[in-house]
């Protein structure tokens, strides 16, 4: 933990982890920390605690090591030109009073504690580094120059440097695929209406963000995370720090560019970078064409996310909003990106509740299938509670409900009939759990049928396309010894299967893990 705290991680390299984080994190104006990072190698914490100081002032007999430490600090040979005396004195005072408050006066190894001027210099370097990372132009040698750094620390910096090199390489790769005018002059004129494949995870060049704040936000996050853990974690993160009050009322966008890369907001949106609805409508048409022609999912997903963001910041909630989410949901479904699909689905539910049009029946059916997949009983119950009698009669919803009840009762026969006859895009969702249901059905059959059944029967009962597929499935789960060639055709020796499908079934049911799902 400490190691990762001693430097704010370079935002570019670690933002992967948050690619699916659902919300923005308010960036707090720094208040109590002088620098974005604190070196924990120093035994005494160095944050100033102004409120506590006066109360703790009392006559203290300073131990000799402390006196020596102070003396060394003021020794002319140790004075650093770039740290002025006032700052140094303050730091010294803080260090010692902290030690007094914490009763560590006698335990700290004063002889080896970095001098205050060095601490200050290091903090500055760290802060500078945080900014430098963003600009990808850091010169490590300068930072590593300080003499007090221990080998481990230097090692750390070196490894970071390697990373920065990696970033450089990546940027080079990119510049090969992107014409120079785009690289230097983004969002200008017509060139922008043509797009090149964009990596949706590439968030290094975030134009809207203050570099220094970024570092802080990272640090705050760590703090918030710790706090969250501490107080039981009830969503305290989003409310705990006072967020900068955005100007009242929704933003009205003025951006005329059709395409826009997605970035998570950390500050109030800027109207010139937000596209108004009539532009977004054109964007949607463009994206639909591109998806058909190119099928580049990471590009499409990124574009849709930025569209959703523009809609949200402008508080546009209408039939067009529904269409955007529906299309994104369908594409995500087709590509098996359940995390993204789930985000869209959650929004769609709220939008349908407001009767804004769209295809509520289709998506409510998906929602049921989705919760079957995630084995989310609580949500399944809520879905049942929300459905009206009329909706329960709709073919797609009825199908999904039948799937649910067939599984609840272990009626695999009916389940696989339903699987072969799924309306709309529900099959993409059912494909997600059909394997585990086949395993469940097989372990069921293996216990109930003796001594064997025809392979043909397995094929038909479990909705396989052919005997070959069924045999392959059994093979894939190490059941090759259960297939036997007879005069009447292949038979499946259910009586000899013992626990193999049961074990596979338990394993298959235990791992339903979806990115972006709460």
């Amino acid at each position: 933990m400490n190691a990762s705290w001693s430097h704010p991680p370079p935002p570019g390299t670690e933002s992967y982890g948050y690619a699916h984080a659902p919300a923005y994190h308010p960036v707090q104006v720094r208040q109590s920390f002088n620098q974005p990072a604190i070196s924990y190698q120093i035994t005494a914490p160095i944050q100033p605690k102004p409120t506590e100081q006066p109360a703790q002032k009392k006559k203290i007999d300073w131990p000799q090591p402390v006196r020596d430490y102070v003396q060394r600090s003021f020794d002319p040979s140790n004075v650093l030109a770039d740290v002025d005396r006032k700052d140094m004195e303050d730091k010294l005072k803080v260090t010692i009073s902290e030690a007094t408050d914490n009763n560590t006066l006698h335990t700290i190894d004063w002889a080896n504690l970095p001098l205050p001027q060095h601490v200050i210099r290091q903090e500055r370097a760290t802060a500078a580094a945080a900014i430098a990372w963003q600009r990808e132009s850091v010169n490590m040698q300068q930072m590593a120059g300080s003499s007090f750094m221990n080998p481990a620390r230097e090692q750390m910096l070196k490894s970071k440097k390697r990373k920065s090199q990696d970033i450089g390489d990546a940027a080079d790769d990119e510049s090969k695929s992107i014409p120079p005018w785009r690289a230097t002059n983004p969002r200008n004129g017509f060139e922008d209406r043509i797009t090149y494949p964009a990596d949706r995870f590439d968030k290094r060049q975030q134009p809207l963000q203050d570099d220094a704040l970024k570092g802080t936000s990272k640090f705050n996050k760590a703090l918030e995370k710790r706090q969250k853990r501490f107080d039981g974690g009830y969503k305290s993160t989003y409310k705990a720090s006072p967020s900068p009050e955005p100007s009242s009322g929704p933003v009205i966008g003025t951006c005329q560019t059709l395409e826009k890369q997605y970035f998570r907001l950390t500050a109030p949106p800027i109207p010139s970078q937000v596209r108004p609805e009539h532009i977004l409508r054109q964007t949607l048409d463009l994206l639909k064409k591109k998806w058909k022609k190119e099928g580049n999912y990471s590009y499409i997903c990124d574009q849709f996310k930025s569209m959703r963001q523009d809609l949200t910041v402008q508080r546009i909630k209408n039939e067009f909003t529904v269409t955007v989410y529906e299309i994104h949901a369908r594409i995500a479904l087709e590509k098996g990106d359940l995390g993204e699909y789930n985000q869209c689905q959650t929004q769609l539910k709220a939008l349908y509740d407001q009767n804004l049009g769209g295809n509520p029946v289709e998506f409510k059916a998906y929602r049921i299938l989705y919760f079957i997949h995630t084995s989310n009983r609580t949500s399944l119950n809520d879905v049942l509670a929300d459905l009206t009698t009329a909706e329960k009669g709709e073919p797609a919803i009825k199908h999904a409900l039948n799937v649910r009840s067939a599984l609840a009762l272990g009626n695999y026969h009916r389940f696989f009939r339903l699987y072969l006859d799924t309306p709309n895009m529900g099959a993409y969702l059912m494909d997600m759990f059909v394997v585990r249901e086949r395993l469940a059905a097989l372990s069921n059959m293996c216990k109930a049928y003796k001594p064997n059944v025809k392979l043909r029967f397995v094929t038909e009962e479990l909705g396989f396309e052919s005997d070959g597929d069924a045999a392959q499935f059994i093979y894939d789960h190490n059941g090759q010894f259960l297939l036997e060639e007879r005069e009447s055709g292949l038979v499946f020796l259910t009586g000899d299967a013992k626990q193999i499908f049961e074990t596979a079934k338990v394993a298959a049911f235990s791992k339903v893990d979806i990115k972006g799902q709460i």
Partner: protein, 454 residues
């Protein structure tokens, strides 16, 4: 003012925490309907601080003297309470005259009271015997939050976000989520008290946990309850055992834990906790017993395949309506009747989150039907006179199929019948195997339907 502070002194002197807590109730007692109104009118914004200070700290007629920090802490608490009472009266007056009441302000004022009380424990040495005050304040914090959210839903409060998507849930339950956070603070206040057990706020923990559970259930964030249980488990070494807490706290806690397990389909643990709650529950709290049985009965159906007796249900007309139709069908093995009863009760079952569990009772109904077929098959011809009779254990699938088709009032093909039979065998409701080639089921000679006597 005199009334309330008279009570304050009275209860403080004897150390009656529950009595003290009543002086912070937002509702006038029936015996004194004007109590809160008079209390609010007895002072004003300008003088409230000074007046209360006099009452709590400097009144020489008081039989005891409070230490300054503790006294000042209580002054702040009662000032906040006085302001909250003011907001409540405004809201109630508005509601009575048909205007829109602003429960939002009531909530904020009450939250301030909660904060003051919290501060009192943190900084002003409030004694642990006063923790019932936390119960009362926590209880109404939740109540006012719900009212505030109800009001906000219609006015569609504009909350600023930088989020990529709207967050429909937090817009709907903004204050209640906030209340959950405040309750969580109180939870930690109790949990982390390091004073010795006799003096500890830990004795308040289960009451607060129950409030939190209640809130999480309402927010549909039941998973958060797990965090609480984890925290409690981590501290269990320092915690008095659950048995030494007031029975009321125990029963509610066990009930919620039972329901949490129930929703996770851990019916064994659920049954254990619910049964404990059931036995500890006060014999006259019909409503609570009814709630416990709502989950205990379905639990029992799945774990032991037994149905509630009429005698058990007789004091609870609501439960009779809920469970009797299904029970009858299960007993008779009436599949179509079971399906109809499930559909008829669906809304109610879903609301109580027992639908998905009850649905699985169909297995028991099917078992009973198949058992009838088995019994109707009669006995093998005796090989020699006087030998014990043996039931026919080879039953054609078609016979079961006929029974199911009659029972469910739709024709079912043999493959599906076999599928249902396979399920029965897999779930150990029936012992035997299907010989598909010959189209028969070979049942076990010793107990084809375990636990049913045949």
């Amino acid at each position: 003012m005199d009334l309330i502070f008279g009570d304050f002194r009275k209860f403080y002197e004897v150390g009656d925490g529950y009595g003290l807590a009543q002086t912070l109730s937002p509702i006038s007692p029936p015996s004194q309907p004007e109590r809160l109104r008079n209390f609010y009118r007895s002072t004003n914004f300008q003088n409230v601080q000074k007046d209360f200070k006099y009452q709590i700290l400097y009144d020489n007629s008081a039989p005891f003297k409070l230490p300054a920090d503790e006294g000042n802490g209580w002054v702040e608490v009662y000032v906040a309470y006085w302001k909250a009472v003011g907001e409540i009266q405004i809201a109630e007056a508005a509601a009575n005259s048909g205007h829109k009441a602003s429960w939002m302000k009531v909530y904020e004022a009450w939250k301030e009271l909660t904060n003051m009380l919290h501060r009192g424990y943190m900084n002003c040495n409030f004694g642990s015997w006063t923790i019932p005050c936390l119960y009362v304040v926590g209880k109404y914090l939740r109540v006012f939050a719900i009212k505030a959210d109800e009001g906000a839903a219609s006015s569609q409060a504009v909350s600023a976000t930088f989020q990529d998507d709207f967050n429909p849930d937090s817009e709907k339950n903004e204050k209640l989520e906030d209340a959950a956070r405040q309750l969580n603070r109180i939870f930690n206040l109790c949990l982390s008290d390091r004073a010795s057990l006799e003096e500890s706020r830990k004795w308040g923990i289960y009451n607060i946990i129950n409030l939190l559970f209640k809130t999480y259930f309402k927010l549909n964030s039941i998973s958060l309850s797990k965090n609480i249980l984890k925290a409690i488990r981590a501290y269990r070494g320092d915690m008095p055992p659950l048995e030494s807490f007031p029975l009321a706290h125990q029963v509610t806690f066990k009930y919620y834990v039972g329901v949490i397990y129930f929703l996770e389909e851990n019916y064994v643990e659920s049954e254990k906790n619910l049964t404990e709650a059931w036995t500890l529950c006060h014999k006259d709290s019909i409503r609570n017993k009814e709630l416990i049985l709502t989950y205990l009965i379905p639990c029992h159906l799945l774990t032991t395949h037994t149905l509630p007796t009429l005698a058990l249900l007789s004091p609870y007309p609501r439960l009779q309506k809920l469970f009797l139709p299904l029970s009858r069908c299960i007993k008779k093995g009436d599949l179509s009747g079971f399906d109809a009863a499930l559909i008829a009760g669906e809304d109610e079952f879903v609301k109580r989150r027992i639908y998905l569990t009850l649905e699985r009772g169909r297995d028991v109904a099917l078992r009973n039907l198949l058992r009838k077929v088995f019994i109707a098959g009669g006995f093998e011809d005796a090989k020699e006179p006087g030998a014990p009779q043996v039931r026919k254990t080879r039953v054609p699938v078609a016979e079961f199929g006929a029974a199911i088709s009659i029972g469910s009032k739709e024709t079912m093909d043999n493959d599906e019948v076999e599928c249902l039979l396979a399920n029965m065998i897999y779930k150990n409701l029936m012992k035997g195997y299907i010989a598909r080639d010959r189209g028969i089921v070979v049942l076990s000679k010793g107990g084809a339907f375990p636990g049913t006597g045949v």
